[in-house]
């Protein structure tokens, strides 16, 4: 099943400055893919469009075989609940503990407290932050905060994970551990798209890469359709 289908997606800002042009690609269920490109190439904008955080100026976006343009606000919210997103700026809520930050998608889904505790504990342990989840973000290191943001993105077991520079503050070993964790998720059917400017990280992995250059796709290299 096609999880993401982009057909001629474009995005302009202001008086016609094109950030993305004619982006077309398809990501299937369980696919694991890197989105590479220099800073300003349009990686974040493309992830935002797929995450329904931003509207495309042109083209057609289909998520889980639903045409996004035809979906009403309730349907869009339902689509968002199937997506886990790691923001580049993390967007952790400072007044909440790591535990409560991770639990937010489960609260949104209306899950019972006991189940929430179980899921959050499981994911936090998996990512190695189990002992730190009662702390607030300000008390955590940058790498730990990134782990919290990743845990929040995957705790609801979404069908699609979008991660924008998820390892930018991690050392190589931690970054690889995290990539392994996301690979494991992908093996259970979750589609994973990771935007990174860390080409070395992408190189060490055997996964396909989509490359963006000045808002245009120049890949994929062994990439998706």
């Amino acid at each position: 099943m096609a999880v993401v289908t982009l057909d001629g997606i474009g995005r302009n800002y202001g008086a016609g400055v094109a950030v993305l042009s004619e982006i077309s690609l398809t990501l299937e269920a369980g696919e694991f893919c890197f989105l590479t490109g220099a800073a300003g190439a349009g990686k974040t904008t493309l992830l935002n469009i797929i995450a329904l955080a931003e509207e495309a100026s042109a083209g057609r976006l289909t998520l889980f075989e639903t045409d996004v343009a035809a979906a009403d606000r309730m349907a869009r919210a339902a689509l968002r609940r199937r997506i886990g997103i790691v923001f580049q700026d993390l967007r952790l809520l400072d007044h909440l503990s790591a535990n409560d930050n991770i639990a937010l998608p489960l609260h949104v889904a209306g899950m019972a407290d006991a189940e929430i505790r179980e899921h959050v504990g499981e994911v936090a342990s998996w990512l190695g932050i189990g002992r730190r989840i009662e702390l607030r973000p300000a008390a955590l290191s940058l790498a730990e905060r990134q782990c919290v943001a990743i845990a929040r993105a995957i705790v609801s077991r979404p069908d699609l994970v979008l991660a924008d520079e998820p390892t930018s503050h991690m050392d190589d070993e931690s970054a690889l551990t995290l990539i392994r964790a996301l690979e494991q998720l992908s093996r259970f059917g979750t589609t994973v798209l990771i935007a990174t400017s860390n080409l070395a990280l992408a190189d060490r992995s055997q996964h396909p890469r989509i490359h963006l250059d000045a808002g245009r796709l120049t890949g994929p290299e062994n990439g998706p359709a």
Partner: protein
């Protein structure tokens, strides 16, 4: 919406209490106070108007000079009895008249020391079209110096004045209600601006508009009910204090359900009005998100 969202919602967790809550409660308390005073004034004005109607609506008074003979008084009474539209006649005895004059003349006023005129209380049939000018001339012919006082024109003036006052009070209440709505919208927008990051995050992780709006509405409902209750209590207390400072014959009592009705109406309108205004504000803000 999930049933648990009625008690606890993601936004409750993500949006902690802030200064806007205190701001809204205090402003709604002030508005509730003004609205309660307006409502109570409306009720009391209605009471006064009804009392005037009862006492004066069908009332005409004939004042007969003190020196008038009993025969002339009897002739005047006979004329009045024959006049169509007159329902009841009552000649006040001199002791009763002296009591009426006591506030002006003091307790020393006595019929045997002062030439106190005789008063005749005339009740007309409701809506009776009596030619007062003609009747006045006929009575003056029988009893020179007799004065027929028709209270109905004065009452009509009072009625018009009271109606204008009631309209002004109603407009005042409507004005403060509109102000309360505007204030709630501003406080809600301020709250959403303070927690913009949290709202955007919850929107992006899949919270629906209703899920996001509900806790904001619930908070506004709570704040409106609390503010309205404080304002209504202060309004009732003011009425009690005024009642003690300026005792009236017909002061409203705690058993008067209308006073409690005004207070409850103010609380309910403050609560549900704030809730609706907050919903409007939050949905407008959310509509700007993709």
């Amino acid at each position: 919406m999930h049933p648990r969202a009625f008690i606890r919602t993601p936004l409750d967790l993500a949006m902690p209490r802030d200064a806007t809550a205190l701001l809204l409660v205090s402003m709604l308390a002030l508005i509730g106070y003004l609205a309660t005073l307006g409502g109570l004034a409306f009720v009391l004005l209605g009471d006064d108007l009804r009392a005037w109607n009862r006492s004066l609506d069908d009332s005409v008074t004939l004042q007969i000079p003190a020196e008038t003979s009993a025969a002339r008084i009897e002739m005047s009474l006979a004329l009045l009895r024959q006049t169509p539209g007159i329902a009841e006649l009552r000649l006040l005895d001199q002791a009763e008249t002296a009591r009426l004059l006591e506030p002006w003349l003091g307790p020393a006023a006595a019929p045997d020391t002062l030439p106190i005129p005789r008063l005749l209380d005339i009740r007309t049939e409701p809506g009776a079209a009596i030619d007062i000018t003609d009747l006045r001339q006929k009575l003056a012919a029988i009893t020179p110096g007799a004065q027929l006082e028709d209270h109905r024109p004065a009452l009509a003036l009072h009625r018009r004045a009271a109606t204008r006052l009631a309209i002004l009070i109603a407009l005042g209440i409507a004005g403060v209600a509109v102000f309360a709505v505007v204030l709630t919208v501003i406080a809600t927008n301020l709250r959403l601006a303070l927690h913009r990051g949290a709202v955007e995050l919850l929107h992006l992780i899949g919270a629906g508009d209703a899920d996001l709006a509900w806790p904001v509405q619930l908070a506004a409902l709570r704040q409106g009910l609390v503010g309205g209750a404080i304002g209504a209590a202060a309004g009732l207390l003011t009425l009690v204090v005024i009642g003690h400072l300026m005792p009236l014959d017909a002061s409203p009592s705690a058993a008067d359900w209308r006073l409690w009705g005004v207070a409850l109406a103010v609380i309910a309108v403050a609560g549900f009005g704030a809730m609706s205004a907050a919903r409007l504000a939050v949905l407008r803000q959310l509509a700007r998100m993709p």
